[in-house]
């Protein structure tokens, strides 16, 4: 990995707000060109795949699924993109994608997530009903993987214990909303 890519990796790892956009702007053109050429997608679809790939990359790095890259950041990003493009093509039946190829591709890029999942989506919708600061605190902890200390400092709480109590209250509110939405068998 060259020094520029290492800097990007560290930027994503640090969770700085402009990190994702910097990575997006750096690799977008090449990714879209590659995607349109190799998978015959329209530009808008290539951009959609690129966004999902960047999100998966960010999530995997922030959540320490990737602690250090064995190949370049670009290779990793494009591997995620390839995996997502194959899935998309399979779904659209535009290409006969052998399950074996898909499994192999999965093995290479680890879990890229962003799968359709009705229950997850319902809970994501219920999150909108929570309002602030609950949405931010839960997302910062569970998606962005920030420590309670960092969350306290970002959201202006006195200390990590206050932030932690607030997080617990928010989590329990979401739990109540969820349990009133699903019955036990559904879960």
């Amino acid at each position: 990995m060259n020094s520029r890519e290492k800097a990007f990796f560290e930027l994503l790892k640090s969770g700085k707000e402009d990190g994702v956009i910097k990575v997006y702007d750096t690799f977008r053109a090449e990714f879209i060109q590659w995607c349109m050429k190799d998978f015959s997608t329209r530009e808008a679809d290539a951009a959609d795949l690129f966004q999902d790939s960047v999100i998966a990359l960010y999530y995997n790095i922030r959540n320490e699924r990737i602690q250090e890259l064995t190949s370049s950041l670009k290779t990793y990003l494009f591997a995620i993109g390839r995996n997502l493009a194959l899935k998309k093509l399979k779904k659209e039946s535009r290409m006969i994608v052998n399950d074996e190829i898909l499994a192999l591709s999965k093995a290479i890029v680890v879990d890229d997530s962003l799968e359709d999942n009705d229950k997850k989506r319902v809970i994501a919708d219920l999150m909108n009903e929570l309002g602030e600061p609950c949405q931010s605190i839960l997302k910062l902890f569970y998606f962005h993987n920030f420590s309670m200390d960092a969350i306290a400092s970002r959201l202006g709480y006195k200390n990590e214990h206050v932030a932690k109590s607030q997080k617990l209250r928010c989590f329990n509110t979401l739990k109540k909303l969820t349990l009133s939405h699903f019955n036990a068998e559904d879960i």
Binding site: V20, I21, Y24, D25, R28, R42, E43, A44, A47, Q51, D52, V54, I55, Y58, Y59, S113, L114, N117, K119, K120, R121, V122, I123, A124, L126, M127, N128, E132, Q135, L138, K139, Y142, F143, H144, L168, F171, N172, L174, K175, T178, L179, A184, I187
Partner: protein, 237 residues
Amino acid sequence: MEDHSELFEKYINGNLSKEETEVFESKLTADPSFNEAFKVYGLLVDGIIESGKSSLKKELVAHEALSYPSTKKSYFYQKIAASVLVVLALSALILNYSASKDYEAIYADYYEPYPNIIDPINRSIDYNDYSIYQQYELRNFEEIVNKLTIKAQENILSDAEKFYLAQSQLVLKNVDLAILNLKEISKESNFYLAAQWYLALAYIKTEKYEKAESLLDQIIDQKEDFSKQAEILKNLL
């Protein structure tokens, strides 16, 4: 249901000792209510992660729309006299779309966020003093929606604010809410014609094609801004 979330977090993060892990796992097998609570916890965490991904996706979609508009076919707000080129392009587009009537693609090709024409960013002022419109230019759409939605509850939104609230909602793909706000913009407003155009696009996005067609007809009849684009779009439906 008893609260075990802290314990679940420790287990998932591997922060329990070997003995604690063994106790935890045997409890999962032996205690159905504990097991159910663990499943609910997992589901909630997955949902929160999904919500985080969805928010980030919205930010990237907005960044893409505003930073890379060059691929879109129509720059309606630039109001350039490109009618000849447009008519030439029209025949190609009709042939292209008519084969499958891909409304999603039509929307994607014609939807372009409206620029901030009210008070463009002046770098000499402090970030904290930026107006709603300057925040729009900075793509802080969620913040704009939050602020203006609160204001809307007090019924004190100007037409310009309604318009840019709807714009932000369109970028964030909250199209139904955008429709409600666009419909409220008065005929006297400078944003009325633009609002009608975006309303037609929003109808296409929400598959209300008859409403879209009828609105496009009105825009065409007015023979003012957006009538050319409306004519082209109407022919694609």
